[in-house]
Amino acid sequence: MTRFIIRRLLITIPTILVVITLAWGLIKLAPGNFYTGEKRIPRSIENSIREKYGLDKPWYVQYGRMMSQIVRLDFGTSLRHEGQSVNSIIFRSLPVSVTVGLLAYLLALVIGVSAGCIAALKQNTTWDYLSMALAMVGISIPNFVLGPILVLYLSLYFYWLPPARWNGFWSQNVILPVLTLSALYMAYIARLTRAGMLEVLRSDYIRTARAKGLPEKTVILRHALRGGIMPVVSFTGPALAFLLTGTVVVERIYALPGLGNYFIQASLNRDEPLIIGIVAFISISLLMMNLLVDIAYAYLDPRIRY
């Protein structure tokens, strides 16, 4: 196991290098730069700012500087948000994104797994068809359509929930973003759970468990569920990546000061240190999460040995 983790960490490093280099290359190759915005500034001022940020050096010096910064996990200061370090922006916006993303995933897990189990246990009944039809609807409605519709009915017509803005972690403002974000995962997880459970329920060890007289509840919850949710566990990796794009949209819809919103703004403003910082941060954390998922997989499925 330790060897597996070390090997995976070693593969992770070149992957992160590739991402950062690609992002950096795209920024450098694209025509124009941060200073070719709508507001023209005098050449001399631009030159002195460039000197300050080291943007006057040849590309390999800049690349080396950037890499050495990233190794020290110090991403420099933002060009747009003057005087704020990229790190401070990331750590200010991260809790917002993580709260919304995590709550959405937990909600999706709870409802999705229950719905999938019910569908599998009552296969080919109305319950099954109903939950699977709902899941298909959930997969097909893009979150940028679902979100505004929820706002329209729950906030603007009935005034039940606040339509936008961030107001701390324990506020009603969290509810709509979380609902919007979780719909897609709920649907995916329900489908995966149903498929997994159907397969497991037919397997020999479930028959054995029933044959030795275990109560049905134990058979389902202790024996079948453990095998049945394996597809859901392996979906966690891709789900994290989806969650990322999802939070970008949700933060945009609900005007939340999260990482995704900053990232889109930084990309549009060509705020190079901020882009690189967020790209590096997101890829490192995604890859670490994927590693954790693989470890969890091995823990849940004793047949897997690394």
Partner: protein
């Protein structure tokens, strides 16, 4: 010459009676006329098997037609495609509205609800209402459908070309090249590619709507080929040791020709299934990017960018969001059903 004939036969994919290959190989040898009788013999014994081999597609088609949801998906998809292509010219002929026609009458430059005229009375002029500039929303939604479907299909084709070539080459060559190529795919798999697409689109933002559209095709196509490459490689691995490949190699067919004329056509089933499922996911990505303002640029519109416009006036003019949103959801819904149905139809083992 020989090569041509082998290929034609192999284009009948997934012939379950591959045994007959040896016989048909005999067919291909130039036979002197006096042996014509024996050649006919071979032909006769071969005939029933040959017919059985071609029926995979008929079988799949029958299975697809039995699946009500898949038929629903197919029908709705066809309706949407036809409406997106035929709709705009018809609307223009009938009413004179196009997606970028802004009425010159100042009274009309406001958002009109569905089935209403500017004064609030009932009217057939704008079944979906108009947007803030008074442009007919139906024409815009149909244009959006055109663009969304176009991005979905072209980007999928781009990913198809890259993925199939990559997977087929890796699978056929095998050995160290294969493991190197697949390791590269593994690395790309773990990349948060959507981030790179956002950076790419934001950095190279084109001032022309058409330029941005082409950028979108390339960007989305070049990130969606990974799974395709894996699927094709798996198929090729299972095909490449069969007799018809050996025969092709023995008759001196070049490696690229074996890969693309002999192996790839035989792996087409899973490729079609996966491509059908790639289209909705690409469309969703396109809508996501357009929603963020990075995708399709005005004056063109896609369902994503229309939704982004609509969200601005959500409380007052909800139809501006609802119509593009519902169209998009309907299209994704039916494409997903169609893809699922095709998978079940073409891959009976995977059915439950």
């Amino acid at each position: 010459m020989n090569d041509e004939r082998i290929t034609k036969r192999n284009l009948k994919p997934d012939d379950p009676t591959r045994k007959s290959d040896n016989l048909r190989e005999a067919d291909l040898v130039h036979t002197p006329p006096e042996f014509a009788v024996s050649e006919e013999d071979v032909h006769v014994t071969d005939e029933p098997e040959f017919v059985a081999g071609t029926s995979l597609w008929k079988d799949a088609w029958k299975r697809l037609l039995k699946n009500k949801l898949a038929v629903f998906g197919l029908v709705v998809t066809i309706i949407i495609i036809v409406a997106a292509i035929v709709g705009p010219p018809v609307i223009k002929a009938a009413t004179g509205y196009t997606y970028d026609y802004i009425p010159s009458d100042a009274n009309l430059i406001k958002s009109i609800p569905p089935f209403r005229a500017a004064d609030g009375s009932f009217s057939w002029a704008h079944p979906m209402g108009t947007d803030n500039s008074g442009r007919d929303l139906l024409a815009r939604v149909l244009l959006g459908g055109q663009i969304s479907l176009m991005v979905g299909i072209i980007s999928t084709l781009v990913s198809l070309i890259i993925g199939v070539s990559y997977g087929a080459i890796a699978g056929y060559l095998g050995g160290r090249i294969d493991s190197l190529m697949m390791r590269f795919v593994d690395v790309l798999y773990s990349l948060p590619y959507i981030i790179l697409v956002i950076v790419l689109l934001a950095m190279f933002r084109s001032s022309s709507a058409r330029g941005q559209l082409i950028l979108l095709f390339v960007a989305l196509g070049s990130v969606s080929w990974l799974t395709m490459a894996r699927i094709v490689r798996g198929q090729i691995l299972s095909l490449k040791n069969q007799e018809f490949v050996l025969a092709a190699r023995a008759t001196g067919v070049s490696t690229p020709r074996i890969i693309f004329r002999h192996l790839v056509p035989n792996a087409i089933g899973p490729v079609i299934v996966y491509a059908t499922l790639t289209i909705p996911s690409v469309m969703l990505n396109e809508a996501f990017l357009s929603f963020l303002g990075l995708g399709v640029q005005p004056p063109l519109a896609s369902w994503g960018s229309l939704a982004a416009d609509g969200i601005q006036n959500l409380g007052i003019f909800p139809w501006q969001l609802l119509f593009p949103g519902i169209s998009m959801a309907l299209a994704l819904f039916s494409l997903n059903f169609l893809g699922d149905g095709l998978r079940d139809a073409l891959d009976p083992q995977m059915r439950r």
